[in-house]
Protein backbone atom coordinates (compact mmCIF):
# COMPACT_ATOMS: atom_id res chain seq x y z
CA UNK A 1 0.00 0.00 0.00
CA UNK A 2 2.76 2.39 0.91
CA UNK A 3 4.56 1.73 -2.36
CA UNK A 4 1.74 3.07 -4.56
CA UNK A 5 1.72 6.79 -5.34
CA UNK A 6 -0.45 8.96 -3.06
CA UNK A 7 -4.03 9.53 -4.22
CA UNK A 8 -4.00 13.08 -2.87
CA UNK A 9 -0.98 15.31 -2.75
CA UNK A 10 -1.20 18.78 -1.23
CA UNK A 11 1.79 21.11 -1.37
CA UNK A 12 1.79 24.45 0.39
CA UNK A 13 -1.96 25.05 0.29
CA UNK A 14 -2.80 28.48 1.65
CA UNK A 15 -6.09 30.28 2.06
CA UNK A 16 -6.46 33.98 2.71
CA UNK A 17 -9.67 35.98 2.88
CA UNK A 18 -8.64 39.61 2.63
CA UNK A 19 -5.93 40.14 5.22
CA UNK A 20 -7.03 37.15 7.29
CA UNK A 21 -4.99 33.97 6.79
CA UNK A 22 -7.14 30.92 7.52
CA UNK A 23 -4.13 28.61 7.09
CA UNK A 24 -0.86 28.57 5.21
CA UNK A 25 1.71 26.07 3.98
CA UNK A 26 -0.50 23.04 4.46
CA UNK A 27 1.26 20.04 2.91
CA UNK A 28 0.37 16.38 3.24
CA UNK A 29 -0.45 13.36 1.15
CA UNK A 30 -3.05 10.62 1.43
CA UNK A 31 -2.30 7.04 0.43
CA UNK A 32 -4.68 4.78 -1.44
CA UNK A 33 -7.03 2.76 0.76
CA UNK A 34 -6.41 4.92 3.79
CA UNK A 35 -8.87 6.55 6.18
CA UNK A 36 -7.39 10.01 6.56
CA UNK A 37 -8.82 12.47 9.03
CA UNK A 38 -8.50 16.25 9.02
CA UNK A 39 -9.15 17.37 12.56
CA UNK A 40 -9.02 20.50 14.61
CA UNK A 41 -11.12 22.79 16.73
CA UNK A 42 -13.98 24.93 15.47
CA UNK A 43 -12.91 27.66 13.07
CA UNK A 44 -9.50 26.19 12.26
CA UNK A 45 -10.22 25.91 8.54
CA UNK A 46 -11.05 22.19 8.28
CA UNK A 47 -14.02 22.76 6.05
CA UNK A 48 -12.15 25.38 4.03
CA UNK A 49 -9.36 22.88 3.38
CA UNK A 50 -11.91 20.32 2.28
CA UNK A 51 -13.48 22.83 -0.09
CA UNK A 52 -10.06 23.23 -1.66
CA UNK A 53 -9.61 19.48 -1.95
CA UNK A 54 -12.93 18.97 -3.71
CA UNK A 55 -12.32 21.84 -6.10
CA UNK A 56 -14.95 24.27 -4.82
CA UNK A 57 -12.45 26.87 -3.61
CA UNK A 58 -9.21 27.61 -5.47
CA UNK A 59 -6.42 27.98 -2.89
CA UNK A 60 -4.74 31.38 -2.62
CA UNK A 61 -1.45 29.55 -3.12
CA UNK A 62 -0.28 25.97 -3.37
CA UNK A 63 -0.86 22.93 -5.49
CA UNK A 64 -3.32 20.06 -5.04
CA UNK A 65 -3.32 16.88 -7.12
CA UNK A 66 -5.93 14.13 -6.92
CA UNK A 67 -4.93 10.80 -8.45
CA UNK A 68 -2.14 12.58 -10.31
CA UNK A 69 -4.41 15.23 -11.82
CA UNK A 70 -3.98 18.77 -10.57
CA UNK A 71 -7.17 20.53 -9.57
CA UNK A 72 -5.54 23.87 -8.87
CA UNK A 73 -5.18 26.72 -11.30
CA UNK A 74 -2.47 25.42 -13.59
CA UNK A 75 -4.56 22.40 -14.64
CA UNK A 76 -6.70 22.30 -17.74
CA UNK A 77 -10.47 21.78 -17.61
CA UNK A 78 -10.19 18.15 -18.77
CA UNK A 79 -7.67 17.28 -16.08
CA UNK A 80 -9.80 18.99 -13.43
CA UNK A 81 -12.94 17.18 -14.56
CA UNK A 82 -11.15 13.83 -14.48
CA UNK A 83 -9.98 14.53 -10.93
CA UNK A 84 -13.44 15.62 -9.80
CA UNK A 85 -15.19 12.63 -11.39
CA UNK A 86 -13.00 10.31 -9.32
CA UNK A 87 -14.38 11.59 -6.03
CA UNK A 88 -17.61 11.48 -4.08
CA UNK A 89 -18.50 14.08 -1.46
CA UNK A 90 -20.85 13.92 1.48
CA UNK A 91 -21.69 17.41 2.73
CA UNK A 92 -22.25 18.23 6.35
CA UNK A 93 -26.04 18.32 6.16
CA UNK A 94 -26.31 15.64 3.49
CA UNK A 95 -27.18 18.27 0.83
CA UNK A 96 -29.80 15.98 -0.65
CA UNK A 97 -31.95 17.41 -3.40
CA UNK A 98 -35.23 18.22 -1.70
CA UNK A 99 -37.44 17.61 -4.69
CA UNK A 100 -36.33 14.00 -5.23
CA UNK A 101 -36.75 10.79 -3.23
CA UNK A 102 -33.64 9.20 -1.73
CA UNK A 103 -33.59 6.65 -4.54
CA UNK A 104 -33.70 9.41 -7.16
CA UNK A 105 -30.96 11.32 -5.33
CA UNK A 106 -28.66 8.30 -5.68
CA UNK A 107 -29.81 7.60 -9.23
CA UNK A 108 -29.11 11.10 -10.50
CA UNK A 109 -25.32 10.69 -11.03
CA UNK A 110 -25.89 7.21 -12.47
CA UNK A 111 -28.34 8.63 -14.97
CA UNK A 112 -26.00 11.46 -15.94
CA UNK A 113 -22.67 9.64 -16.17
CA UNK A 114 -23.19 5.91 -16.77
CA UNK A 115 -24.70 3.92 -19.65
CA UNK A 116 -26.76 1.76 -17.24
CA UNK A 117 -30.32 1.03 -18.46
CA UNK A 118 -33.12 2.47 -16.28
CA UNK A 119 -33.99 -0.68 -14.32
CA UNK A 120 -30.28 -1.27 -13.70
CA UNK A 121 -29.96 2.26 -12.27
CA UNK A 122 -32.77 1.47 -9.84
CA UNK A 123 -31.09 -1.80 -8.81
CA UNK A 124 -27.67 -0.18 -8.35
CA UNK A 125 -29.13 2.70 -6.34
CA UNK A 126 -31.03 0.23 -4.13
CA UNK A 127 -27.85 -1.73 -3.36
CA UNK A 128 -26.12 1.48 -2.32
CA UNK A 129 -28.99 2.62 -0.14
CA UNK A 130 -29.07 -0.89 1.35
CA UNK A 131 -25.39 -0.75 2.28
CA UNK A 132 -25.93 2.44 4.27
CA UNK A 133 -28.98 0.88 5.94
CA UNK A 134 -31.67 2.81 4.09
CA UNK A 135 -33.19 -0.03 2.03
CA UNK A 136 -36.67 0.68 3.34
CA UNK A 137 -36.42 4.46 3.05
CA UNK A 138 -35.76 4.58 -0.70
CA UNK A 139 -39.11 6.16 -1.55
CA UNK A 140 -38.98 8.86 1.14
CA UNK A 141 -38.29 12.52 0.48
CA UNK A 142 -35.33 14.23 2.22
CA UNK A 143 -37.78 16.30 4.28
CA UNK A 144 -39.24 13.11 5.77
CA UNK A 145 -36.04 11.63 7.22
CA UNK A 146 -33.86 12.29 10.26
CA UNK A 147 -30.45 13.95 10.29
CA UNK A 148 -28.61 10.65 10.65
CA UNK A 149 -30.52 9.17 7.73
CA UNK A 150 -29.76 12.24 5.64
CA UNK A 151 -26.04 11.77 6.29
CA UNK A 152 -26.19 8.11 5.35
CA UNK A 153 -28.16 8.95 2.22
CA UNK A 154 -25.49 11.55 1.47
CA UNK A 155 -22.86 8.82 1.66
CA UNK A 156 -24.92 6.59 -0.63
CA UNK A 157 -25.13 9.42 -3.16
CA UNK A 158 -21.42 10.13 -2.83
CA UNK A 159 -20.81 6.44 -3.64
CA UNK A 160 -23.18 6.49 -6.60
CA UNK A 161 -20.41 6.30 -9.19
CA UNK A 162 -18.17 4.05 -7.06
CA UNK A 163 -15.43 6.68 -6.81
CA UNK A 164 -12.08 5.50 -5.44
CA UNK A 165 -12.00 8.56 -3.17
CA UNK A 166 -14.72 9.71 -0.76
CA UNK A 167 -14.79 12.97 1.19
CA UNK A 168 -17.01 13.13 4.26
CA UNK A 169 -17.62 16.44 6.03
CA UNK A 170 -18.49 15.92 9.71
CA UNK A 171 -20.14 12.51 9.24
CA UNK A 172 -20.86 12.01 12.94
CA UNK A 173 -21.61 15.56 14.07
CA UNK A 174 -25.02 15.82 15.68
CA UNK A 175 -25.64 12.06 15.75
CA UNK A 176 -26.26 9.84 18.75
CA UNK A 177 -23.35 7.55 19.76
CA UNK A 178 -24.98 4.41 18.38
CA UNK A 179 -25.75 5.90 14.98
CA UNK A 180 -22.32 7.48 14.95
CA UNK A 181 -20.61 4.18 15.74
CA UNK A 182 -22.68 2.54 13.01
CA UNK A 183 -21.44 5.14 10.57
CA UNK A 184 -17.83 4.51 11.63
CA UNK A 185 -18.33 0.78 11.06
CA UNK A 186 -19.86 1.52 7.66
CA UNK A 187 -16.80 3.52 6.66
CA UNK A 188 -14.47 0.70 7.72
CA UNK A 189 -16.59 -1.90 5.89
CA UNK A 190 -16.65 0.13 2.71
CA UNK A 191 -12.92 0.66 2.87
CA UNK A 192 -12.37 -3.07 3.31
CA UNK A 193 -14.84 -4.25 0.65
CA UNK A 194 -14.26 -1.57 -1.98
CA UNK A 195 -10.70 -0.51 -1.23
CA UNK A 196 -11.92 3.09 -1.23
CA UNK A 197 -9.92 5.96 0.27
CA UNK A 198 -11.70 8.17 2.78
CA UNK A 199 -10.87 11.74 3.71
CA UNK A 200 -12.93 12.74 6.71
CA UNK A 201 -13.28 16.12 8.33
CA UNK A 202 -14.34 15.81 11.93
CA UNK A 203 -13.70 16.77 15.51
CA UNK A 204 -15.42 13.77 17.11
CA UNK A 205 -12.72 12.16 19.25
CA UNK A 206 -14.26 8.70 19.47
CA UNK A 207 -14.74 8.51 15.77
CA UNK A 208 -11.18 9.68 15.05
CA UNK A 209 -9.61 7.04 17.28
CA UNK A 210 -11.89 4.31 15.92
CA UNK A 211 -11.37 4.77 12.20
CA UNK A 212 -8.42 6.99 11.32
CA UNK A 213 -5.21 5.49 9.95
CA UNK A 214 -3.56 8.89 9.91
CA UNK A 215 -4.59 12.44 10.54
CA UNK A 216 -3.46 16.01 10.35
CA UNK A 217 -4.48 18.51 12.97
CA UNK A 218 -5.07 22.15 12.08
CA UNK A 219 -5.01 25.03 14.50
CA UNK A 220 -5.98 28.67 14.14
CA UNK A 221 -2.78 29.83 15.82
CA UNK A 222 -0.22 27.50 14.28
CA UNK A 223 1.90 30.50 13.24
CA UNK A 224 0.91 33.29 15.59
CA UNK A 225 -2.23 34.76 14.03
CA UNK A 226 -2.10 32.44 11.04
CA UNK A 227 -3.46 28.91 10.98
CA UNK A 228 -1.80 25.74 9.74
CA UNK A 229 -0.87 22.15 10.56
CA UNK A 230 0.31 21.55 14.12
CA UNK A 231 0.49 17.75 14.11
CA UNK A 232 0.44 14.86 11.68
CA UNK A 233 0.43 11.08 12.10
CA UNK A 234 -1.42 8.21 13.73
CA UNK A 235 -4.03 9.74 16.07
CA UNK A 236 -3.44 7.11 18.77
CA UNK A 237 0.26 7.98 18.87
CA UNK A 238 -0.55 11.70 18.86
CA UNK A 239 -2.81 11.15 21.82
CA UNK A 240 -0.16 9.30 23.81
CA UNK A 241 3.04 10.97 22.72
CA UNK A 242 2.46 14.51 21.47
CA UNK A 243 4.09 17.30 23.43
CA UNK A 244 2.11 20.04 21.72
CA UNK A 245 -0.21 21.53 24.38
CA UNK A 246 -3.05 22.06 21.90
CA UNK A 247 -2.88 18.48 20.63
CA UNK A 248 -2.70 17.15 24.18
CA UNK A 249 -5.64 19.29 25.25
CA UNK A 250 -7.67 18.20 22.23
CA UNK A 251 -7.23 14.51 22.92
CA UNK A 252 -7.88 14.94 26.65
CA UNK A 253 -10.87 17.21 26.14
CA UNK A 254 -9.32 19.91 28.30
CA UNK A 255 -8.89 23.65 28.05
CA UNK A 256 -5.27 24.18 26.89
CA UNK A 257 -2.87 25.04 29.71
CA UNK A 258 -1.01 27.67 27.73
CA UNK A 259 -2.69 30.24 25.56
CA UNK A 260 0.11 30.10 23.00
CA UNK A 261 0.34 27.25 20.53
CA UNK A 262 3.76 25.68 20.20
Amino acid sequence: MSASPPIIDVAGATQRFGTRTIFRDVSFSVRRGEVFVILGGSGCGKSTLMKQLIGLLPPTAGRITIGGDAITEESGAAERDRALRGMGVMFQSGALFGSMTLLENVMLPLQMFTPLPPEARVAVARVKLGLVGLADAAALMPSEISGGMAKRAGIARAMALDPPLLFLDEPSAGLDPITSAGLDQLILDLRRDLGATFVIVTHELGSILAIADRCIMLDRHAYGDEGGIIAEGDPRRLRDESTNPIVRAFFRRQVPQTAEAA
Binding site: G98, E104, F113, T114, V127, L131, A139, E144, R192, L194
Partner: protein, 365 residues
Protein backbone atom coordinates in the same frame (compact mmCIF):
# COMPACT_ATOMS: atom_id res chain seq x y z
CA UNK B 1 -20.11 -12.81 -20.15
CA UNK B 2 -20.86 -16.22 -21.57
CA UNK B 3 -23.55 -18.78 -20.76
CA UNK B 4 -22.87 -22.50 -20.34
CA UNK B 5 -25.90 -24.81 -20.08
CA UNK B 6 -26.05 -28.14 -18.27
CA UNK B 7 -28.98 -30.39 -17.38
CA UNK B 8 -29.19 -29.17 -13.81
CA UNK B 9 -27.34 -25.92 -13.88
CA UNK B 10 -26.76 -22.89 -16.04
CA UNK B 11 -23.48 -21.08 -15.52
CA UNK B 12 -23.03 -17.38 -16.23
CA UNK B 13 -19.33 -16.78 -16.51
CA UNK B 14 -18.35 -13.16 -15.95
CA UNK B 15 -15.00 -11.71 -16.93
CA UNK B 16 -13.19 -8.40 -16.78
CA UNK B 17 -14.36 -5.30 -14.95
CA UNK B 18 -17.83 -5.30 -13.40
CA UNK B 19 -18.18 -1.53 -12.90
CA UNK B 20 -21.01 0.70 -14.13
CA UNK B 21 -19.78 0.57 -17.76
CA UNK B 22 -19.18 -3.18 -17.70
CA UNK B 23 -22.48 -3.92 -16.00
CA UNK B 24 -24.36 -1.68 -18.44
CA UNK B 25 -23.00 -3.65 -21.42
CA UNK B 26 -24.22 -7.05 -20.22
CA UNK B 27 -27.17 -6.05 -18.01
CA UNK B 28 -30.03 -7.00 -20.33
CA UNK B 29 -28.38 -10.25 -21.51
CA UNK B 30 -27.61 -11.32 -17.97
CA UNK B 31 -31.17 -10.68 -16.81
CA UNK B 32 -32.62 -12.59 -19.77
CA UNK B 33 -30.27 -15.52 -19.16
CA UNK B 34 -31.15 -15.55 -15.47
CA UNK B 35 -34.90 -15.41 -16.08
CA UNK B 36 -34.77 -18.19 -18.65
CA UNK B 37 -32.79 -20.57 -16.45
CA UNK B 38 -35.93 -22.24 -15.19
CA UNK B 39 -37.04 -22.85 -11.63
CA UNK B 40 -35.61 -26.39 -11.32
CA UNK B 41 -32.11 -25.58 -12.57
CA UNK B 42 -29.43 -23.97 -10.45
CA UNK B 43 -28.08 -20.61 -11.58
CA UNK B 44 -24.35 -20.51 -11.06
CA UNK B 45 -22.53 -17.17 -11.18
CA UNK B 46 -18.87 -17.82 -11.98
CA UNK B 47 -16.76 -14.87 -10.86
CA UNK B 48 -13.29 -16.41 -11.14
CA UNK B 49 -12.26 -14.18 -14.05
CA UNK B 50 -13.68 -10.95 -12.63
CA UNK B 51 -10.82 -8.47 -12.36
CA UNK B 52 -12.76 -5.81 -10.47
CA UNK B 53 -16.27 -5.54 -9.11
CA UNK B 54 -17.76 -2.45 -7.50
CA UNK B 55 -21.24 -1.79 -6.23
CA UNK B 56 -22.71 -1.51 -9.73
CA UNK B 57 -21.35 -5.00 -10.47
CA UNK B 58 -22.73 -6.18 -7.15
CA UNK B 59 -26.14 -4.83 -8.09
CA UNK B 60 -25.93 -6.72 -11.38
CA UNK B 61 -25.19 -10.02 -9.62
CA UNK B 62 -27.88 -9.53 -6.98
CA UNK B 63 -30.50 -8.53 -9.55
CA UNK B 64 -29.66 -11.61 -11.61
CA UNK B 65 -30.10 -13.71 -8.48
CA UNK B 66 -33.47 -12.12 -7.84
CA UNK B 67 -34.56 -12.58 -11.46
CA UNK B 68 -33.98 -16.35 -11.22
CA UNK B 69 -36.78 -18.18 -9.49
CA UNK B 70 -34.72 -21.13 -8.22
CA UNK B 71 -31.46 -21.72 -6.38
CA UNK B 72 -28.40 -19.57 -7.09
CA UNK B 73 -24.76 -20.15 -6.21
CA UNK B 74 -21.71 -17.96 -6.71
CA UNK B 75 -18.38 -19.60 -7.39
CA UNK B 76 -14.86 -18.33 -7.74
CA UNK B 77 -15.39 -15.03 -5.96
CA UNK B 78 -12.42 -13.52 -4.15
CA UNK B 79 -12.73 -13.13 -0.42
CA UNK B 80 -13.41 -9.38 -0.60
CA UNK B 81 -15.97 -9.77 -3.35
CA UNK B 82 -17.77 -12.53 -1.46
CA UNK B 83 -17.87 -10.34 1.67
CA UNK B 84 -19.24 -7.43 -0.35
CA UNK B 85 -21.90 -9.64 -1.98
CA UNK B 86 -22.95 -11.08 1.37
CA UNK B 87 -23.29 -7.68 2.98
CA UNK B 88 -25.13 -6.17 0.04
CA UNK B 89 -27.47 -9.17 -0.03
CA UNK B 90 -28.15 -8.83 3.69
CA UNK B 91 -28.97 -5.13 3.47
CA UNK B 92 -31.06 -5.15 0.29
CA UNK B 93 -34.83 -5.32 0.70
CA UNK B 94 -36.32 -8.73 -0.08
CA UNK B 95 -39.25 -7.35 -2.02
CA UNK B 96 -38.59 -3.72 -2.94
CA UNK B 97 -41.61 -1.61 -3.77
CA UNK B 98 -41.60 -1.01 -7.54
CA UNK B 99 -40.13 2.32 -8.57
CA UNK B 100 -42.72 4.22 -10.54
CA UNK B 101 -40.33 6.73 -12.02
CA UNK B 102 -40.44 10.49 -11.92
CA UNK B 103 -43.99 11.16 -13.12
CA UNK B 104 -45.92 14.33 -13.69
CA UNK B 105 -49.01 14.69 -11.53
CA UNK B 106 -52.30 14.15 -13.37
CA UNK B 107 -54.90 16.86 -13.94
CA UNK B 108 -57.32 17.21 -11.04
CA UNK B 109 -59.89 20.01 -11.53
CA UNK B 110 -61.86 19.06 -8.40
CA UNK B 111 -58.68 19.14 -6.35
CA UNK B 112 -57.92 22.60 -7.71
CA UNK B 113 -61.38 23.81 -6.71
CA UNK B 114 -60.96 22.32 -3.26
CA UNK B 115 -57.54 23.94 -2.89
CA UNK B 116 -59.01 27.29 -3.94
CA UNK B 117 -61.81 27.08 -1.39
CA UNK B 118 -59.40 25.99 1.31
CA UNK B 119 -57.07 28.89 0.61
CA UNK B 120 -60.00 31.34 0.70
CA UNK B 121 -61.04 29.93 4.09
CA UNK B 122 -57.45 30.09 5.33
CA UNK B 123 -57.25 33.69 4.14
CA UNK B 124 -60.33 34.64 6.17
CA UNK B 125 -58.86 32.92 9.23
CA UNK B 126 -55.56 34.70 8.69
CA UNK B 127 -57.19 38.12 8.56
CA UNK B 128 -58.91 37.26 11.84
CA UNK B 129 -55.56 36.32 13.39
CA UNK B 130 -53.98 39.53 12.13
CA UNK B 131 -56.80 41.58 13.65
CA UNK B 132 -56.38 39.81 16.98
CA UNK B 133 -52.64 40.48 16.84
CA UNK B 134 -53.38 44.13 16.12
CA UNK B 135 -55.80 44.28 19.05
CA UNK B 136 -53.10 42.95 21.34
CA UNK B 137 -50.34 45.25 20.14
CA UNK B 138 -50.63 47.56 23.19
CA UNK B 139 -49.58 44.69 25.51
CA UNK B 140 -46.88 43.52 23.09
CA UNK B 141 -45.46 46.90 22.15
CA UNK B 142 -41.87 45.72 22.26
CA UNK B 143 -42.46 43.04 19.66
CA UNK B 144 -43.50 45.60 17.08
CA UNK B 145 -40.38 47.58 16.22
CA UNK B 146 -41.06 50.81 14.31
CA UNK B 147 -37.61 50.51 12.71
CA UNK B 148 -38.69 47.18 11.19
CA UNK B 149 -41.73 48.85 9.65
CA UNK B 150 -39.50 51.53 8.17
CA UNK B 151 -37.06 48.95 6.83
CA UNK B 152 -39.83 47.07 5.04
CA UNK B 153 -41.27 50.35 3.78
CA UNK B 154 -37.89 51.21 2.35
CA UNK B 155 -37.60 47.79 0.70
CA UNK B 156 -41.13 47.81 -0.69
CA UNK B 157 -41.55 51.47 -1.52
CA UNK B 158 -38.45 53.61 -1.84
CA UNK B 159 -36.52 51.02 -3.78
CA UNK B 160 -39.34 50.64 -6.28
CA UNK B 161 -39.42 54.35 -7.20
CA UNK B 162 -37.38 54.03 -10.44
CA UNK B 163 -39.59 51.15 -11.57
CA UNK B 164 -42.75 53.11 -10.72
CA UNK B 165 -41.59 56.17 -12.64
CA UNK B 166 -40.62 54.12 -15.67
CA UNK B 167 -43.81 52.05 -15.80
CA UNK B 168 -46.05 55.03 -15.00
CA UNK B 169 -44.56 57.15 -17.78
CA UNK B 170 -44.77 54.31 -20.29
CA UNK B 171 -48.38 53.49 -19.42
CA UNK B 172 -49.32 57.18 -19.74
CA UNK B 173 -47.58 57.38 -23.11
CA UNK B 174 -49.14 54.21 -24.46
CA UNK B 175 -52.67 54.91 -23.21
CA UNK B 176 -52.64 58.43 -24.60
CA UNK B 177 -51.18 57.36 -27.93
CA UNK B 178 -53.49 54.38 -28.42
CA UNK B 179 -56.63 56.37 -27.64
CA UNK B 180 -55.57 59.54 -29.44
CA UNK B 181 -55.28 57.84 -32.83
CA UNK B 182 -58.95 56.70 -33.07
CA UNK B 183 -60.35 59.74 -31.22
CA UNK B 184 -58.62 62.05 -33.63
CA UNK B 185 -60.94 60.85 -36.40
CA UNK B 186 -63.83 62.39 -34.48
CA UNK B 187 -61.93 65.54 -33.65
CA UNK B 188 -62.14 64.58 -29.99
CA UNK B 189 -58.47 64.18 -29.33
CA UNK B 190 -58.40 66.76 -26.52
CA UNK B 191 -60.70 64.45 -24.53
CA UNK B 192 -57.94 61.85 -24.46
CA UNK B 193 -56.79 63.87 -21.47
CA UNK B 194 -60.08 63.19 -19.66
CA UNK B 195 -59.98 59.53 -20.51
CA UNK B 196 -56.41 58.89 -19.43
CA UNK B 197 -56.42 61.01 -16.30
CA UNK B 198 -59.69 59.61 -14.95
CA UNK B 199 -58.68 56.01 -15.60
CA UNK B 200 -55.21 56.56 -14.14
CA UNK B 201 -56.35 58.28 -10.97
CA UNK B 202 -59.34 56.10 -10.25
CA UNK B 203 -58.13 52.67 -11.36
CA UNK B 204 -54.88 52.15 -13.12
CA UNK B 205 -52.55 53.91 -10.71
CA UNK B 206 -53.64 51.81 -7.75
CA UNK B 207 -53.89 48.60 -9.79
CA UNK B 208 -50.44 48.93 -11.34
CA UNK B 209 -48.88 49.82 -8.02
CA UNK B 210 -50.54 46.71 -6.57
CA UNK B 211 -49.14 44.52 -9.35
CA UNK B 212 -45.66 45.93 -8.71
CA UNK B 213 -46.03 45.44 -4.97
CA UNK B 214 -47.22 41.85 -5.40
CA UNK B 215 -44.40 41.01 -7.76
CA UNK B 216 -41.58 42.75 -5.93
CA UNK B 217 -42.62 42.60 -2.30
CA UNK B 218 -45.37 40.02 -1.77
CA UNK B 219 -43.13 37.33 -3.22
CA UNK B 220 -40.18 38.53 -1.12
CA UNK B 221 -42.30 38.40 2.06
CA UNK B 222 -43.36 34.84 1.25
CA UNK B 223 -39.84 33.65 0.40
CA UNK B 224 -38.32 35.31 3.46
CA UNK B 225 -40.87 34.01 5.95
CA UNK B 226 -40.97 30.66 4.14
CA UNK B 227 -37.21 30.21 4.51
CA UNK B 228 -37.53 31.14 8.17
CA UNK B 229 -40.21 28.48 8.52
CA UNK B 230 -38.05 25.85 6.80
CA UNK B 231 -35.13 26.74 9.13
CA UNK B 232 -37.37 26.39 12.20
CA UNK B 233 -36.95 30.10 13.01
CA UNK B 234 -40.71 30.52 13.37
CA UNK B 235 -40.77 27.68 15.90
CA UNK B 236 -37.92 29.36 17.76
CA UNK B 237 -39.89 32.63 17.97
CA UNK B 238 -43.01 30.85 19.19
CA UNK B 239 -41.10 28.93 21.86
CA UNK B 240 -39.53 32.15 23.11
CA UNK B 241 -43.04 33.47 23.59
CA UNK B 242 -42.74 35.90 20.69
CA UNK B 243 -45.78 36.05 18.48
CA UNK B 244 -44.83 35.60 14.78
CA UNK B 245 -48.00 37.43 13.84
CA UNK B 246 -46.90 40.55 15.74
CA UNK B 247 -43.18 40.23 15.02
CA UNK B 248 -43.27 39.28 11.36
CA UNK B 249 -46.68 39.87 9.83
CA UNK B 250 -47.87 43.17 11.28
CA UNK B 251 -44.75 45.21 10.39
CA UNK B 252 -44.85 43.89 6.82
CA UNK B 253 -48.56 44.59 6.43
CA UNK B 254 -48.17 48.07 7.92
CA UNK B 255 -45.28 48.83 5.60
CA UNK B 256 -47.25 47.65 2.57
CA UNK B 257 -50.25 49.80 3.57
CA UNK B 258 -47.98 52.76 4.26
CA UNK B 259 -46.16 52.76 0.94
CA UNK B 260 -49.06 51.97 -1.38
CA UNK B 261 -50.65 55.47 -1.48
CA UNK B 262 -47.25 57.00 -2.13
CA UNK B 263 -46.53 54.48 -4.88
CA UNK B 264 -49.95 55.13 -6.41
CA UNK B 265 -49.47 58.88 -6.33
CA UNK B 266 -46.08 58.54 -8.03
CA UNK B 267 -47.53 56.30 -10.72
CA UNK B 268 -50.38 58.79 -11.28
CA UNK B 269 -48.00 61.69 -11.67
CA UNK B 270 -45.64 59.77 -13.96
CA UNK B 271 -48.59 58.58 -16.05
CA UNK B 272 -49.97 62.10 -16.43
CA UNK B 273 -46.50 63.30 -17.44
CA UNK B 274 -46.27 60.57 -20.08
CA UNK B 275 -49.68 61.52 -21.41
CA UNK B 276 -48.71 65.18 -21.53
CA UNK B 277 -45.72 64.33 -23.69
CA UNK B 278 -47.96 62.56 -26.23
CA UNK B 279 -50.51 65.38 -26.24
CA UNK B 280 -47.81 67.96 -26.87
CA UNK B 281 -46.48 65.82 -29.68
CA UNK B 282 -49.99 65.93 -31.16
CA UNK B 283 -49.76 69.72 -31.13
CA UNK B 284 -51.55 70.75 -27.93
CA UNK B 285 -49.77 73.40 -25.85
CA UNK B 286 -48.83 72.47 -22.29
CA UNK B 287 -51.28 74.97 -20.81
CA UNK B 288 -54.20 73.42 -22.66
CA UNK B 289 -53.31 69.94 -21.44
CA UNK B 290 -52.91 71.01 -17.82
CA UNK B 291 -56.17 72.98 -17.87
CA UNK B 292 -57.96 70.01 -19.35
CA UNK B 293 -56.60 67.74 -16.60
CA UNK B 294 -57.92 70.20 -14.01
CA UNK B 295 -61.35 70.16 -15.63
CA UNK B 296 -61.47 66.38 -16.05
CA UNK B 297 -60.61 65.13 -12.57
CA UNK B 298 -61.63 66.00 -9.06
CA UNK B 299 -59.90 65.48 -5.76
CA UNK B 300 -62.42 62.66 -5.18
CA UNK B 301 -60.96 60.66 -8.06
CA UNK B 302 -57.48 60.89 -6.58
CA UNK B 303 -58.66 60.07 -3.05
CA UNK B 304 -60.62 57.10 -4.36
CA UNK B 305 -57.48 55.63 -5.91
CA UNK B 306 -55.39 56.27 -2.82
CA UNK B 307 -57.94 54.72 -0.44
CA UNK B 308 -58.19 51.65 -2.62
CA UNK B 309 -54.42 51.35 -2.73
CA UNK B 310 -54.25 51.07 1.07
CA UNK B 311 -56.64 48.12 0.96
CA UNK B 312 -54.64 46.53 -1.86
CA UNK B 313 -51.46 46.91 0.17
CA UNK B 314 -53.05 45.23 3.18
CA UNK B 315 -54.27 42.32 1.06
CA UNK B 316 -50.93 41.81 -0.71
CA UNK B 317 -48.92 42.05 2.51
CA UNK B 318 -51.25 39.66 4.32
CA UNK B 319 -51.27 37.11 1.50
CA UNK B 320 -47.48 37.22 1.14
CA UNK B 321 -47.04 36.61 4.86
CA UNK B 322 -49.68 33.89 4.97
CA UNK B 323 -48.10 32.01 2.09
CA UNK B 324 -44.76 32.27 3.87
CA UNK B 325 -46.10 30.98 7.18
CA UNK B 326 -47.89 28.13 5.38
CA UNK B 327 -44.72 26.94 3.65
CA UNK B 328 -44.20 23.18 3.67
CA UNK B 329 -40.81 21.50 3.84
CA UNK B 330 -38.00 21.81 1.33
CA UNK B 331 -36.77 24.33 -1.22
CA UNK B 332 -39.61 23.67 -3.66
CA UNK B 333 -42.13 24.73 -1.01
CA UNK B 334 -40.48 28.16 -0.73
CA UNK B 335 -40.88 28.61 -4.49
CA UNK B 336 -44.53 27.57 -4.30
CA UNK B 337 -45.10 30.05 -1.47
CA UNK B 338 -43.62 32.89 -3.54
CA UNK B 339 -45.79 31.93 -6.51
CA UNK B 340 -48.86 31.76 -4.28
CA UNK B 341 -48.08 35.20 -2.90
CA UNK B 342 -47.92 36.85 -6.34
CA UNK B 343 -50.97 35.08 -7.77
CA UNK B 344 -53.00 35.53 -4.59
CA UNK B 345 -51.97 39.17 -4.34
CA UNK B 346 -53.02 40.03 -7.89
CA UNK B 347 -56.27 38.06 -7.77
CA UNK B 348 -57.32 39.57 -4.44
CA UNK B 349 -56.45 43.05 -5.71
CA UNK B 350 -58.75 42.68 -8.67
CA UNK B 351 -61.55 41.18 -6.57
CA UNK B 352 -61.23 44.06 -4.09
CA UNK B 353 -61.24 46.53 -6.96
CA UNK B 354 -64.53 45.10 -8.16
CA UNK B 355 -65.94 45.39 -4.66
CA UNK B 356 -64.82 49.01 -4.45
CA UNK B 357 -66.41 49.78 -7.82
CA UNK B 358 -69.79 48.59 -6.51
CA UNK B 359 -69.47 50.40 -3.17
CA UNK B 360 -68.41 53.66 -4.77
CA UNK B 361 -71.21 53.48 -7.32
CA UNK B 362 -73.73 52.88 -4.53
CA UNK B 363 -72.35 55.75 -2.52
CA UNK B 364 -72.80 57.92 -5.61
CA UNK B 365 -69.31 59.39 -6.06
Amino acid sequence: MNVADGAERRTLRFAGRLDADGAARIWDNAMRAARQTGRNRTLSLDLADVAYCDLSGTALLLTAEAAHAGRTVTVGASEELQALLDRARATSPRKPAPYAGNQLPGADPLGLLRAGLRSAANGAAFIGEALIALWRVPERRRMLQPVEVMRFADQAGVRSVPLLLLLGTLIGLILAFQSAVPMRRFGADLYVVNLVSISLLRELGALLAAVILAGRTGSAFAAEIGTMKVNEEIDALTVMGLDPMTMLVLPRMMAAMLVMPAMTLLLDIAGLAGMTVVMMAFGFPLVAVVTQIGRAVHVGDLVQGLVKSVAFGAAIGAIGCREGLGTGAGPRAVGLAATGAVVGGIVSTILLDGLFAIIIYRLGF
